[in-house]
């Protein structure tokens, strides 16, 4: 029986907990992508770098607070710096819309043109972020490291395996829950939110009902920027801030949004957790886990790892392609244009 408990704790520690934290970060990113996709009808390639931009501003503000010895220990200082990042990322998105995307929207250009324009924005934004803060890897988190330490857990339970939950992981989940709840409240309870859903669902009918497209687009960029800044910051607190990694988050984020169904916020969240947990589950080495569960003579010789962690990107990709081929509307029947 303790063997089973040990195996479960092992799985929790190395697959579930990191997967849930990563899934929360992806969910915040995918929500922004799915909103812009649903309202503006194009895949925004600059989203990953907007996350980096927001996180960068948070990091700068964090340094400023730390310089003044302002903090909220044991919580990371970045949390009080978050509003700066949100304002910056939202402002960036709105100015990008004003300077770049609005022009093509008004001309009713095909979505591919907007997509390529977003590549231009991405290019410039990568430059801006590196120009301001440089390409180096930087630590964002300060304050306490752990919510539950492995050693404490072992002592309390008497198990051989420990369960460690980092403060950053707990925070990520809490912040995500708050952000997602606020977003759903907005989308389902407010007039502007309902107008957004209506516009995403059926543009012509929404226009007939008197919904102003400019207003809806404004909210879409505002919310996407806000969520991007939060996602980027939480990812930075949990791991570290390195501008280049944010571009690589683009693929799992797109995979989450498409898996859930484009324009479907619930779908984006569910999709994000499926993608994240698949990544951690497929790249985990099950040797020790199986040793607890199998009789001694069956003990596996290899690592029992399905795929090396280097290939985690391949998992989002496979999910993405399978969804696109088998059920392009995604789990929650998003729109297919």
């Amino acid at each position: 029986m303790t063997d089973v408990a040990n195996a479960v704790v092992l799985l929790m520690n190395f697959v579930i907990v990191p997967g849930v934290a990563y899934g929360s970060q992806l969910a915040l990113g995918a929500l922004g992508v799915t909103l812009v996709f649903g309202i503006l009808r194009f895949a925004n390639f600059s989203h990953g770098d907007v996350m980096a931009f927001g996180a960068m501003v948070v990091l700068l503000a964090t340094w400023w607070f730390q310089g003044m010895d302002v903090g909220i220990a044991p919580l990371p200082t970045a949390l009080i710096a978050l509003p700066f990042g949100i304002v910056a990322a939202a402002a960036f998105n709105l100015s990008a819309d004003r300077l770049v995307f609005r022009f093509y929207r008004r001309r009713k250009s095909p979505p591919v043109i907007l997509l390529i324009a977003s590549v231009g924005v991405m290019f410039a934004l990568q430059g801006i972020v590196r120009f301001i803060i440089g390409p180096e890897d930087r630590r964002v988190a300060d304050g306490a490291r752990f919510l539950i330490k492995a050693s404490e857990f072992k002592q309390a339970t008497g198990l051989k395996e420990g369960l460690a939950i980092k403060l950053s992981q707990g925070l990520t989940v809490v912040v995500t829950v708050v952000a997602v709840a606020a977003l759903f409240w907005f989308l389902h309870r407010t007039r502007a939110g309902k107008a957004m859903r209506a516009y995403s669902d059926n543009e012509d009918l929404a226009l007939l009902s008197g919904v102003s497209p400019d207003r809806v687009v404004f909210y879409a960029w505002l919310i996407a920027g806000t969520l991007a800044a939060i996602a980027g910051t939480m990812y930075g607190i949990d791991k570290s801030f390195k501008p280049f990694t944010y571009f690589h988050l683009l693929l799992p984020i797109f995979a989450s949004a498409i898996l859930g169904g484009i324009g479907q916020p619930v779908g984006a969240v569910v999709g994000a957790f499926i993608v994240a947990l698949s990544e951690t589950a497929v790249t985990y080495a099950y040797k020790k886990f199986l040793r607890y569960l199998l009789p001694e003579s069956w003990e596996p010789s290899g690592l029992m790892q399905l795929l090396s962690t280097d290939y985690k990107l391949a998992i989002s990709f496979v999910i993405l392609v399978v969804v696109l081929l088998v059920r392009p509307t995604g789990i929650f029947r998003g729109r297919v244009f």
Partner: protein, 447 residues
């Protein structure tokens, strides 16, 4: 009608394209005089390779409207060919793991055949999906029974120097063709899966594939040494030291009144430039002929109205597959040429910004759908990409000239100046899209 000052080239459209290329040549000459001829020729060589890469993308996007965001993957496969063709085979590694690797390959072929047969004989439905998935999973584990020990054995062979299977030991020029074939083969596989997708989904899928190709190359050390890199590749042109020791070259240098050391390095670069220019000319000529053939016209007809073309009985997916494979082959050739020029294969250097999105800027700026536009775009954008760095440094130096030498802001701005070029490229792309969406040398409409 506006009169007065008008661009003389605009009045004579036939002279416009040659005129633009003359301006480009002047820019390179200016660098030759202003900086150095070695720099100028280095830029020229990469301009030539960039132009080929842009031609490949122009076929896919310009002719057919395929939004391929995975240029990097095809270029890297071409680069890998450089290693696989030119490096000497590592006999010990073949002895250690060749047999198991052969079995793994045999199992792979067997699994593929089994899946194809299963899909042919089982009717469409959940049963067929289940059979496919089952075969895939079983095949995956079966292959790894042979593959894992083979990899371990190969990577253990003198891992500091080799640790991989090596190549075919052929002259590296062959890798240009092999690289093209490798990329074409990959494109065929990718196209089978992804070409039916909507354009934005296709973009996301190709973005992912390129990343996976790079990950494979980085991590499968047995294949191309991964991030341990392969250096000292074979060269299709003479080495500088050999030139400096050969009588004919010294005679030539003294006859020209040139410094033999500088002369040798210029001579080598000129040799590369001649080879690359030859390839570029061949591809441009073929691409032009293809574009103006009935096949090319059909391709553009499909791009402009896919539904109408399909309704007229054109096989859209087949045409897309052809152009996708062809474009990828051209990118592969360019990738192999780049590895040849570098003399080394460094998987870590493949960044999507440089190898995918910069090529996109080249095509859009040059003029999508026009081969000469793509070539000019390749030249111009590469030139700007390289020269933006010293320009930004100079600019930052000028802006901060009032600050002391050690002022942190000055130091930061000078340090970061290199990243200005990313901003510049983004802005160039956006400005061209907005104000000159058909590019510098627009596609010829009609005809």
């Amino acid at each position: 009608m506006k009169t007065g000052l008008r661009n003389p080239l605009r009045r004579r459209p036939a002279l416009r394209t040659p005129g633009l290329f003359a301006v480009m040549a002047l820019l390179l000459v200016a660098v030759g005089f202003g900086q150095s001829w070695v720099v100028s020729l280095s830029i020229l060589n990469l301009c030539l390779i960039s132009a080929i890469m842009a031609l490949g993308l122009n076929m896919q996007w310009g002719y057919a409207g395929l939004l391929n965001v995975g240029v990097m993957g095809f270029a890297a496969l071409g680069g890998l060919a450089g290693v696989l063709v030119s490096q000497p085979p590592v006999a010990d590694a073949w002895a250690a793991g060749g047999e198991d690797l052969g079995y793994a390959l045999a199992v792979l072929v067997g699994v593929v055949i089994a899946i194809v047969l299963a899909r042919r004989h089982v009717r469409k439905g959940p049963l067929r999906t289940a059979a496919t998935v089952l075969l895939l999973v079983a095949g995956f584990f079966l292959i790894r029974i042979f593959f894992d020990p083979a990899v371990d054995a190969i990577e253990d062979v003198d891992s500091a120097r080799t640790g991989y299977l090596g190549g075919a030991g052929l002259p590296i020029v062959f890798s240009w063709a092999i690289g093209g074939l490798l990329a074409a083969g990959a494109a065929w596989l990718i196209g089978k899966v992804a070409l039916g997708l909507r354009s934005d989904y296709f973009a996301i899928a190709t973005l992912g594939i390129a990343e996976i190709v790079i990950t494979v190359i980085k991590n499968e050390d047995w294949l191309g040494r991964g991030v341990k890199n392969v250096t000292g590749l074979d060269r299709p042109v003479p080495y500088e030291v050999d030139l400096q020791a050969s009588a004919w070259f010294l005679d030539l240098a003294s006859w020209l009144g040139a410094d033999p050391i500088l002369g040798a390095s210029i001579f080598v670069k000129l040799c590369y430039a001649a080879l690359f220019a030859l390839v570029l000319m061949a591809i441009v000529l073929l691409a032009e002929r293809a574009l103006n053939s009935p096949w090319g016209r059909m391709m553009r007809a499909i791009r402009d109205n896919e539904a109408a073309a399909a309704a007229m009985g054109k096989n859209v997916t087949r045409r897309h597959m052809e152009i996708f494979v062809l474009g990828a082959a051209v990118m592969g050739i360019a990738g192999a040429m780049l590895t040849t020029l570098d003399g080394q294969f460094t998987p870590g250097s493949y960044q999507p910004l440089r190898f995918t999105f910069l090529v996109w800027v080249m095509v859009i700026v040059g003029g999508s759908g026009n081969n000469w536009g793509a070539v000019l775009g390749g030249f111009l954008v590469w030139f700007l990409w390289v020269e933006a760095e010293p320009a930004a440094f100079w600019l930052m130096d000028a802006i901060t000239a009032g600050l002391d030498e050690g002022h942190p802001l000055r130091a930061h701005l000078l340090d970061s100046a290199a990243y200005m070029r990313l901003i510049v490229m983004g802005l160039i792309l956006l400005v061209v899209m907005r104000f000159s969406p058909r590019g510098i040398i627009p596609e010829k409409r009609g005809g």
